[in-house]
Amino acid sequence: MNELLDFLRSTGFSAIGPGEGLMIALGLVFIYLAVARDMEPYELLPIGLGVIIANLPLTGLLVSPLEGTGFQESGLFGLIFHYGLSFWNILPPIIFLGLGALTDFGPLISNPKTLLLGAAAQVGIFVAFWGALATGVFELSEAASIGIIGGADGPTTIFLTARLAPEILGITAVIAYSYMAAVAFIQPPLMKLLTTKKERAIEMAPPREVSRLEKLLFPTIAMIVIILIVPRSAPLIAMFMIGNLFRESGVVPRLTSAASNEVLNVATIFLMLTIGTQLSAERVFQLDTLLILGLGLVAFAAGTMGGLLFAKIMNLFLKEKINPLIGSAGVSAVPMAARISHHVGQQSNPRTFLLPHAMGPNVAGVIGSAVIAGVFISLVNPT
Protein backbone atom coordinates (compact mmCIF):
# COMPACT_ATOMS: atom_id res chain seq x y z
CA MET A 1 0.00 0.00 0.00
CA ASN A 2 2.85 2.34 0.90
CA GLU A 3 4.43 1.67 -2.49
CA LEU A 4 1.20 2.66 -4.20
CA LEU A 5 1.03 5.91 -2.20
CA ASP A 6 4.66 6.64 -2.99
CA PHE A 7 3.97 6.06 -6.65
CA LEU A 8 0.94 8.37 -6.58
CA ARG A 9 3.05 11.04 -4.86
CA SER A 10 5.68 10.69 -7.60
CA THR A 11 3.19 11.43 -10.37
CA GLY A 12 2.78 14.95 -11.71
CA PHE A 13 -0.85 15.10 -10.61
CA SER A 14 0.22 15.39 -6.99
CA ALA A 15 2.26 18.54 -7.62
CA ILE A 16 0.41 20.40 -10.37
CA GLY A 17 -1.25 23.66 -9.34
CA PRO A 18 -3.49 26.26 -10.98
CA GLY A 19 -0.44 28.31 -12.08
CA GLU A 20 1.01 25.36 -13.96
CA GLY A 21 -2.42 24.67 -15.47
CA LEU A 22 -2.65 28.24 -16.75
CA MET A 23 0.84 28.10 -18.20
CA ILE A 24 0.05 24.85 -20.01
CA ALA A 25 -3.00 26.60 -21.45
CA LEU A 26 -0.73 29.48 -22.54
CA GLY A 27 1.56 26.96 -24.22
CA LEU A 28 -1.44 25.56 -26.08
CA VAL A 29 -2.37 29.12 -27.18
CA PHE A 30 1.15 29.57 -28.62
CA ILE A 31 0.82 26.27 -30.45
CA TYR A 32 -2.58 27.31 -31.77
CA LEU A 33 -1.23 30.68 -33.00
CA ALA A 34 1.66 28.93 -34.73
CA VAL A 35 -0.32 26.12 -36.31
CA ALA A 36 -3.70 27.69 -37.06
CA ARG A 37 -2.71 31.33 -37.57
CA ASP A 38 0.79 30.80 -38.99
CA MET A 39 2.15 33.43 -36.58
CA GLU A 40 5.94 33.03 -36.27
CA PRO A 41 5.53 29.22 -36.32
CA TYR A 42 9.26 28.49 -36.17
CA GLU A 43 9.42 30.32 -32.85
CA LEU A 44 6.00 30.00 -31.26
CA LEU A 45 5.55 26.27 -31.86
CA PRO A 46 8.74 25.13 -30.06
CA ILE A 47 8.29 27.86 -27.42
CA GLY A 48 4.73 26.65 -26.78
CA LEU A 49 5.96 23.06 -26.46
CA GLY A 50 8.72 24.24 -24.12
CA VAL A 51 6.17 26.07 -21.96
CA ILE A 52 4.11 22.91 -21.59
CA ILE A 53 7.16 20.78 -20.70
CA ALA A 54 8.42 23.36 -18.20
CA ASN A 55 5.13 23.39 -16.33
CA LEU A 56 4.69 19.64 -16.04
CA PRO A 57 5.87 19.07 -12.46
CA LEU A 58 8.57 16.75 -11.11
CA THR A 59 10.28 16.14 -14.47
CA GLY A 60 13.67 17.49 -13.39
CA LEU A 61 14.21 18.64 -16.97
CA LEU A 62 15.13 22.15 -15.89
CA VAL A 63 17.70 21.29 -13.22
CA SER A 64 20.84 23.24 -14.04
CA PRO A 65 24.33 21.69 -13.73
CA LEU A 66 24.88 24.28 -10.98
CA GLU A 67 22.01 22.79 -8.95
CA GLY A 68 22.43 19.11 -9.81
CA THR A 69 24.70 17.57 -7.24
CA GLY A 70 24.94 13.96 -8.32
CA PHE A 71 25.30 11.64 -11.28
CA GLN A 72 22.99 12.66 -14.17
CA GLU A 73 20.96 14.97 -11.96
CA SER A 74 21.04 17.86 -14.40
CA GLY A 75 17.99 18.09 -16.64
CA LEU A 76 18.15 18.18 -20.43
CA PHE A 77 16.87 21.75 -20.74
CA GLY A 78 18.82 22.86 -17.68
CA LEU A 79 21.96 21.73 -19.50
CA ILE A 80 21.03 23.39 -22.80
CA PHE A 81 20.11 26.60 -20.99
CA HIS A 82 23.33 26.59 -18.99
CA TYR A 83 25.76 25.78 -21.79
CA GLY A 84 23.83 27.16 -24.76
CA LEU A 85 22.80 30.44 -23.16
CA SER A 86 23.68 31.51 -19.66
CA PHE A 87 27.24 30.16 -19.43
CA TRP A 88 28.53 30.00 -23.01
CA ASN A 89 25.78 31.97 -24.80
CA ILE A 90 26.55 30.32 -28.13
CA LEU A 91 23.08 29.67 -29.57
CA PRO A 92 22.24 33.30 -30.56
CA PRO A 93 25.51 33.77 -32.53
CA ILE A 94 24.87 30.46 -34.33
CA ILE A 95 21.41 31.76 -35.29
CA PHE A 96 23.10 34.93 -36.59
CA LEU A 97 25.35 32.81 -38.83
CA GLY A 98 22.26 31.41 -40.50
CA LEU A 99 20.57 34.81 -40.71
CA GLY A 100 23.69 36.25 -42.37
CA ALA A 101 23.59 33.46 -44.96
CA LEU A 102 19.98 34.42 -45.71
CA THR A 103 20.56 38.19 -45.89
CA ASP A 104 20.96 40.21 -49.06
CA PHE A 105 22.77 43.51 -48.49
CA GLY A 106 21.98 44.57 -52.07
CA PRO A 107 19.07 46.94 -51.22
CA LEU A 108 21.12 48.57 -48.47
CA ILE A 109 24.18 49.04 -50.69
CA SER A 110 22.08 50.46 -53.52
CA ASN A 111 20.43 53.03 -51.23
CA PRO A 112 22.83 53.50 -48.30
CA LYS A 113 21.03 56.47 -46.73
CA THR A 114 18.47 53.95 -45.48
CA LEU A 115 21.14 52.91 -42.96
CA LEU A 116 20.22 56.01 -40.97
CA LEU A 117 16.63 54.83 -40.66
CA GLY A 118 17.94 51.65 -39.04
CA ALA A 119 19.75 53.80 -36.48
CA ALA A 120 16.75 56.07 -35.82
CA ALA A 121 14.44 53.15 -35.14
CA GLN A 122 16.71 52.06 -32.27
CA VAL A 123 15.25 54.91 -30.23
CA GLY A 124 12.63 52.38 -29.09
CA ILE A 125 15.34 50.55 -27.14
CA PHE A 126 16.09 53.62 -25.07
CA VAL A 127 12.46 54.63 -24.56
CA ALA A 128 11.79 51.19 -23.04
CA PHE A 129 15.09 51.32 -21.15
CA TRP A 130 14.08 54.59 -19.48
CA GLY A 131 10.55 53.31 -18.95
CA ALA A 132 11.92 50.26 -17.13
CA LEU A 133 14.14 52.44 -14.93
CA ALA A 134 11.22 54.78 -14.22
CA THR A 135 9.17 51.93 -12.74
CA GLY A 136 11.78 51.58 -10.00
CA VAL A 137 11.33 47.80 -10.17
CA PHE A 138 14.24 46.94 -12.44
CA GLU A 139 17.98 47.31 -12.09
CA LEU A 140 20.09 48.86 -14.85
CA SER A 141 21.06 45.49 -16.34
CA GLU A 142 17.43 44.36 -16.41
CA ALA A 143 16.33 47.69 -17.93
CA ALA A 144 18.92 47.23 -20.69
CA SER A 145 17.62 43.71 -21.36
CA ILE A 146 14.03 44.97 -21.48
CA GLY A 147 15.01 47.90 -23.71
CA ILE A 148 16.65 45.63 -26.28
CA ILE A 149 13.21 44.11 -26.98
CA GLY A 150 12.73 47.35 -28.95
CA GLY A 151 15.45 46.16 -31.30
CA ALA A 152 12.83 43.65 -32.50
CA ASP A 153 15.51 41.06 -32.94
CA GLY A 154 15.00 37.80 -31.05
CA PRO A 155 18.58 36.46 -31.02
CA THR A 156 19.97 39.86 -29.96
CA THR A 157 17.43 40.06 -27.12
CA ILE A 158 18.37 36.55 -25.99
CA PHE A 159 22.11 37.22 -26.34
CA LEU A 160 21.98 40.37 -24.23
CA THR A 161 19.53 39.12 -21.60
CA ALA A 162 21.39 35.82 -21.15
CA ARG A 163 24.44 37.94 -20.39
CA LEU A 164 22.99 40.74 -18.26
CA ALA A 165 19.82 39.42 -16.64
CA PRO A 166 19.36 35.66 -17.19
CA GLU A 167 16.52 35.55 -14.64
CA ILE A 168 14.22 37.40 -17.08
CA LEU A 169 15.48 35.64 -20.23
CA GLY A 170 12.38 33.56 -20.88
CA ILE A 171 10.05 36.52 -20.49
CA THR A 172 12.01 38.98 -22.65
CA ALA A 173 12.57 36.41 -25.39
CA VAL A 174 8.95 35.38 -25.58
CA ILE A 175 7.76 38.99 -25.50
CA ALA A 176 10.23 39.96 -28.23
CA TYR A 177 9.10 37.12 -30.49
CA SER A 178 5.42 37.68 -29.68
CA TYR A 179 5.61 41.36 -30.62
CA MET A 180 7.63 40.49 -33.72
CA ALA A 181 4.77 38.20 -34.69
CA ALA A 182 2.35 41.03 -33.97
CA VAL A 183 4.07 43.83 -35.93
CA ALA A 184 1.28 43.50 -38.48
CA PHE A 185 -1.09 44.82 -35.80
CA ILE A 186 1.24 47.23 -33.97
CA GLN A 187 2.81 49.11 -36.86
CA PRO A 188 0.09 49.97 -39.44
CA PRO A 189 -2.01 52.23 -37.14
CA LEU A 190 1.13 54.19 -36.17
CA MET A 191 2.24 54.37 -39.80
CA LYS A 192 -1.10 55.83 -40.84
CA LEU A 193 -1.19 58.18 -37.87
CA LEU A 194 2.23 59.70 -38.53
CA THR A 195 2.12 60.00 -42.33
CA THR A 196 -0.20 61.68 -44.81
CA LYS A 197 -1.73 59.74 -47.69
CA LYS A 198 0.43 61.78 -50.06
CA GLU A 199 3.58 60.73 -48.21
CA ARG A 200 2.53 57.08 -48.19
CA ALA A 201 1.95 57.21 -51.93
CA ILE A 202 5.49 58.38 -52.76
CA GLU A 203 6.97 56.17 -55.46
CA MET A 204 10.64 55.29 -55.27
CA ALA A 205 12.80 54.42 -58.26
CA PRO A 206 13.82 50.74 -58.41
CA PRO A 207 17.13 50.10 -56.65
CA ARG A 208 20.19 49.81 -58.88
CA GLU A 209 21.85 46.50 -59.57
CA VAL A 210 24.65 45.87 -57.06
CA SER A 211 27.82 44.15 -58.28
CA ARG A 212 29.24 41.00 -56.70
CA LEU A 213 32.39 42.87 -55.68
CA GLU A 214 30.29 45.39 -53.70
CA LYS A 215 28.40 42.57 -52.01
CA LEU A 216 31.70 40.97 -51.03
CA LEU A 217 33.37 44.14 -49.82
CA PHE A 218 30.47 45.48 -47.75
CA PRO A 219 30.18 42.67 -45.16
CA THR A 220 33.98 42.43 -44.91
CA ILE A 221 34.44 46.15 -44.25
CA ALA A 222 31.33 46.34 -42.03
CA MET A 223 32.58 43.46 -39.89
CA ILE A 224 35.98 45.05 -39.37
CA VAL A 225 34.61 48.57 -38.69
CA ILE A 226 31.85 47.48 -36.28
CA ILE A 227 34.01 45.07 -34.30
CA LEU A 228 36.78 47.64 -33.99
CA ILE A 229 34.29 50.16 -32.56
CA VAL A 230 32.25 47.74 -30.40
CA PRO A 231 34.33 44.59 -29.81
CA ARG A 232 31.68 43.08 -27.52
CA SER A 233 29.25 42.92 -30.44
CA ALA A 234 31.66 40.54 -32.20
CA PRO A 235 29.84 37.25 -31.48
CA LEU A 236 26.74 38.53 -33.29
CA ILE A 237 28.28 40.77 -35.94
CA ALA A 238 31.12 38.40 -36.87
CA MET A 239 28.81 35.42 -37.29
CA PHE A 240 26.29 37.50 -39.26
CA MET A 241 28.92 38.76 -41.69
CA ILE A 242 30.64 35.36 -41.97
CA GLY A 243 27.31 33.80 -42.95
CA ASN A 244 26.77 36.58 -45.48
CA LEU A 245 30.26 36.18 -46.94
CA PHE A 246 29.62 32.45 -47.37
CA ARG A 247 26.57 33.41 -49.40
CA GLU A 248 28.08 36.19 -51.48
CA SER A 249 31.36 34.42 -52.21
CA GLY A 250 29.41 31.92 -54.29
CA VAL A 251 32.21 29.38 -53.86
CA VAL A 252 30.94 27.52 -50.79
CA PRO A 253 27.34 26.66 -51.63
CA ARG A 254 27.36 23.70 -49.24
CA LEU A 255 28.46 25.89 -46.32
CA THR A 256 25.87 28.53 -47.23
CA SER A 257 23.20 25.88 -47.43
CA ALA A 258 24.29 24.29 -44.14
CA ALA A 259 24.40 27.66 -42.33
CA SER A 260 21.01 28.77 -43.59
CA ASN A 261 19.28 25.40 -43.26
CA GLU A 262 20.69 22.65 -41.03
CA VAL A 263 22.71 24.80 -38.61
CA LEU A 264 20.02 27.48 -38.32
CA ASN A 265 17.28 24.90 -37.89
CA VAL A 266 19.10 22.84 -35.27
CA ALA A 267 19.98 25.98 -33.28
CA THR A 268 16.40 27.22 -33.58
CA ILE A 269 14.99 23.98 -32.21
CA PHE A 270 17.18 24.01 -29.09
CA LEU A 271 17.01 27.77 -28.56
CA MET A 272 13.24 28.08 -28.83
CA LEU A 273 12.47 24.95 -26.80
CA THR A 274 14.82 26.16 -24.07
CA ILE A 275 13.32 29.66 -24.09
CA GLY A 276 9.89 28.10 -23.68
CA THR A 277 11.09 26.07 -20.72
CA GLN A 278 12.10 29.28 -18.97
CA LEU A 279 8.44 30.27 -18.72
CA SER A 280 7.50 28.46 -15.54
CA ALA A 281 4.43 29.56 -13.56
CA GLU A 282 6.38 31.02 -10.64
CA ARG A 283 8.36 33.26 -13.03
CA VAL A 284 5.47 34.44 -15.16
CA PHE A 285 2.81 35.29 -12.57
CA GLN A 286 4.59 38.34 -11.24
CA LEU A 287 4.13 42.08 -11.60
CA ASP A 288 7.49 42.28 -13.40
CA THR A 289 6.16 40.19 -16.28
CA LEU A 290 3.21 42.50 -16.88
CA LEU A 291 5.54 45.49 -16.76
CA ILE A 292 7.92 43.90 -19.29
CA LEU A 293 4.94 43.11 -21.52
CA GLY A 294 3.87 46.76 -21.47
CA LEU A 295 7.40 48.09 -21.90
CA GLY A 296 8.01 45.77 -24.84
CA LEU A 297 4.98 47.22 -26.59
CA VAL A 298 6.21 50.74 -25.86
CA ALA A 299 9.61 49.79 -27.28
CA PHE A 300 8.13 48.49 -30.54
CA ALA A 301 5.85 51.50 -30.92
CA ALA A 302 8.63 54.01 -30.17
CA GLY A 303 11.02 52.29 -32.60
CA THR A 304 8.39 52.38 -35.35
CA MET A 305 7.69 56.06 -34.69
CA GLY A 306 11.42 56.88 -34.55
CA GLY A 307 12.02 55.37 -37.98
CA LEU A 308 8.96 57.02 -39.54
CA LEU A 309 9.70 60.47 -38.16
CA PHE A 310 13.37 60.30 -39.12
CA ALA A 311 12.37 59.43 -42.69
CA LYS A 312 10.13 62.51 -42.73
CA ILE A 313 13.00 64.65 -41.43
CA MET A 314 15.31 63.23 -44.11
CA ASN A 315 12.74 64.19 -46.74
CA LEU A 316 13.14 67.85 -45.74
CA PHE A 317 16.69 67.72 -47.09
CA LEU A 318 16.46 65.18 -49.92
CA LYS A 319 15.80 66.15 -53.51
CA GLU A 320 14.56 62.66 -54.37
CA LYS A 321 12.05 61.93 -51.60
CA ILE A 322 11.86 58.59 -49.82
CA ASN A 323 8.59 57.02 -48.79
CA PRO A 324 8.56 57.48 -44.98
CA LEU A 325 6.88 54.10 -44.56
CA ILE A 326 10.23 52.40 -45.08
CA GLY A 327 11.40 54.05 -41.84
CA SER A 328 9.26 51.74 -39.73
CA ALA A 329 11.17 48.75 -41.14
CA GLY A 330 14.22 50.02 -39.24
CA VAL A 331 13.00 48.20 -36.13
CA SER A 332 14.39 44.93 -37.60
CA ALA A 333 11.77 42.14 -37.34
CA VAL A 334 13.18 40.89 -40.65
CA PRO A 335 11.39 40.59 -43.04
CA MET A 336 7.92 41.18 -41.55
CA ALA A 337 8.45 44.90 -40.92
CA ALA A 338 9.62 45.41 -44.53
CA ARG A 339 6.57 43.55 -45.81
CA ILE A 340 4.28 45.74 -43.73
CA SER A 341 5.88 48.91 -45.14
CA HIS A 342 5.21 47.50 -48.59
CA HIS A 343 1.58 46.55 -47.88
CA VAL A 344 0.68 49.87 -46.24
CA GLY A 345 2.32 51.70 -49.15
CA GLN A 346 0.32 49.69 -51.67
CA GLN A 347 -2.92 50.53 -49.87
CA SER A 348 -2.26 54.20 -50.64
CA ASN A 349 -0.78 53.75 -54.10
CA PRO A 350 -0.82 50.35 -55.82
CA ARG A 351 2.07 51.46 -58.04
CA THR A 352 4.46 52.00 -55.15
CA PHE A 353 6.72 49.00 -54.58
CA LEU A 354 8.50 49.46 -51.26
CA LEU A 355 9.71 45.95 -50.40
CA PRO A 356 13.26 46.23 -51.78
CA HIS A 357 13.64 49.74 -50.33
CA ALA A 358 12.39 48.68 -46.89
CA MET A 359 14.89 45.80 -46.74
CA GLY A 360 17.71 48.38 -46.40
CA PRO A 361 16.57 49.86 -43.05
CA ASN A 362 15.38 46.41 -42.01
CA VAL A 363 18.91 44.95 -42.25
CA ALA A 364 20.42 48.17 -40.84
CA GLY A 365 18.14 47.70 -37.83
CA VAL A 366 19.65 44.26 -37.19
CA ILE A 367 23.13 45.78 -37.24
CA GLY A 368 22.03 48.76 -35.10
CA SER A 369 20.47 46.62 -32.37
CA ALA A 370 23.49 44.27 -32.29
CA VAL A 371 25.76 47.33 -31.89
CA ILE A 372 23.67 48.68 -29.01
CA ALA A 373 23.67 45.21 -27.40
CA GLY A 374 27.47 45.31 -27.64
CA VAL A 375 27.53 48.75 -25.97
CA PHE A 376 25.31 47.49 -23.14
CA ILE A 377 27.53 44.44 -22.62
CA SER A 378 30.63 46.65 -22.59
CA LEU A 379 29.30 49.09 -20.00
CA VAL A 380 26.65 47.41 -17.85
CA ASN A 381 27.51 44.88 -15.16
CA PRO A 382 25.39 41.74 -15.02
CA THR A 383 22.96 41.29 -12.12
Binding site: L133, E214, V225, I229, I372
Partner: protein, 87 residues
Amino acid sequence: MEQPDALILTGIGIGTAFVVLMLLLASVFVIRLITWLVGKWAGRNDPPAEDPPDPEMRNRAAAASAAVTALIHSRPRLGLTDDRAEE
Protein backbone atom coordinates in the same frame (compact mmCIF):
# COMPACT_ATOMS: atom_id res chain seq x y z
CA MET B 1 33.05 48.28 -11.37
CA GLU B 2 30.22 50.75 -10.78
CA GLN B 3 27.12 50.81 -12.98
CA PRO B 4 27.28 53.68 -15.48
CA ASP B 5 24.83 56.55 -15.38
CA ALA B 6 21.72 55.75 -17.44
CA LEU B 7 21.92 59.08 -19.29
CA ILE B 8 25.53 58.50 -20.30
CA LEU B 9 24.69 54.95 -21.34
CA THR B 10 21.86 56.28 -23.54
CA GLY B 11 24.14 58.86 -25.13
CA ILE B 12 26.90 56.35 -25.82
CA GLY B 13 24.44 53.70 -27.07
CA ILE B 14 22.51 55.79 -29.54
CA GLY B 15 25.60 57.79 -30.50
CA THR B 16 27.55 54.62 -31.28
CA ALA B 17 24.70 53.19 -33.36
CA PHE B 18 24.57 56.39 -35.44
CA VAL B 19 28.36 56.64 -35.79
CA VAL B 20 28.67 52.98 -36.85
CA LEU B 21 25.88 53.26 -39.40
CA MET B 22 27.29 56.60 -40.70
CA LEU B 23 30.66 54.89 -41.16
CA LEU B 24 28.97 52.06 -43.03
CA LEU B 25 27.24 54.69 -45.17
CA ALA B 26 30.64 56.20 -45.96
CA SER B 27 32.08 52.74 -46.60
CA VAL B 28 29.42 52.10 -49.25
CA PHE B 29 30.69 55.11 -51.19
CA VAL B 30 34.29 53.94 -50.80
CA ILE B 31 33.22 50.49 -52.03
CA ARG B 32 31.52 52.08 -55.05
CA LEU B 33 34.73 53.94 -55.83
CA ILE B 34 36.81 50.76 -55.50
CA THR B 35 34.35 48.89 -57.72
CA TRP B 36 34.50 51.64 -60.33
CA LEU B 37 38.32 51.67 -60.26
CA VAL B 38 38.48 47.87 -60.49
CA GLY B 39 36.02 47.93 -63.39
CA LYS B 40 38.06 50.56 -65.18
CA TRP B 41 41.30 48.66 -64.61
CA ALA B 42 39.73 45.37 -65.74
CA GLY B 43 38.36 47.09 -68.86
CA ARG B 44 41.81 48.37 -69.78
CA ASN B 45 43.35 44.93 -69.32
CA ASP B 46 40.67 43.05 -71.22
CA PRO B 47 41.88 41.34 -74.42
CA PRO B 48 40.79 43.22 -77.55
CA ALA B 49 37.36 42.23 -78.78
CA GLU B 50 37.36 39.48 -81.40
CA ASP B 51 36.47 40.32 -84.98
CA PRO B 52 32.76 40.04 -85.65
CA PRO B 53 31.92 36.57 -87.04
CA ASP B 54 31.49 36.11 -90.70
CA PRO B 55 27.76 36.54 -91.56
CA GLU B 56 27.79 33.44 -93.71
CA MET B 57 29.29 31.32 -90.93
CA ARG B 58 26.68 32.68 -88.54
CA ASN B 59 23.86 31.73 -90.93
CA ARG B 60 25.30 28.22 -91.35
CA ALA B 61 25.49 27.78 -87.57
CA ALA B 62 21.89 28.98 -87.16
CA ALA B 63 20.73 26.61 -89.89
CA ALA B 64 22.58 23.67 -88.30
CA SER B 65 21.08 24.46 -84.92
CA ALA B 66 17.57 24.69 -86.39
CA ALA B 67 18.06 21.38 -88.21
CA VAL B 68 19.17 19.57 -85.08
CA THR B 69 16.23 21.03 -83.13
CA ALA B 70 13.78 19.96 -85.83
CA LEU B 71 15.27 16.47 -85.89
CA ILE B 72 14.97 16.08 -82.12
CA HIS B 73 11.37 17.26 -82.11
CA SER B 74 10.39 14.99 -85.01
CA ARG B 75 11.66 11.88 -83.12
CA PRO B 76 10.78 12.62 -79.50
CA ARG B 77 10.85 9.01 -78.38
CA LEU B 78 14.46 8.43 -79.30
CA GLY B 79 15.94 10.31 -76.39
CA LEU B 80 18.65 8.82 -74.21
CA THR B 81 16.18 7.86 -71.52
CA ASP B 82 13.63 6.42 -73.88
CA ASP B 83 12.93 2.78 -73.09
CA ARG B 84 11.99 1.86 -76.65
CA ALA B 85 15.24 3.27 -77.98
CA GLU B 86 17.11 0.94 -75.65
CA GLU B 87 15.11 -2.01 -76.92
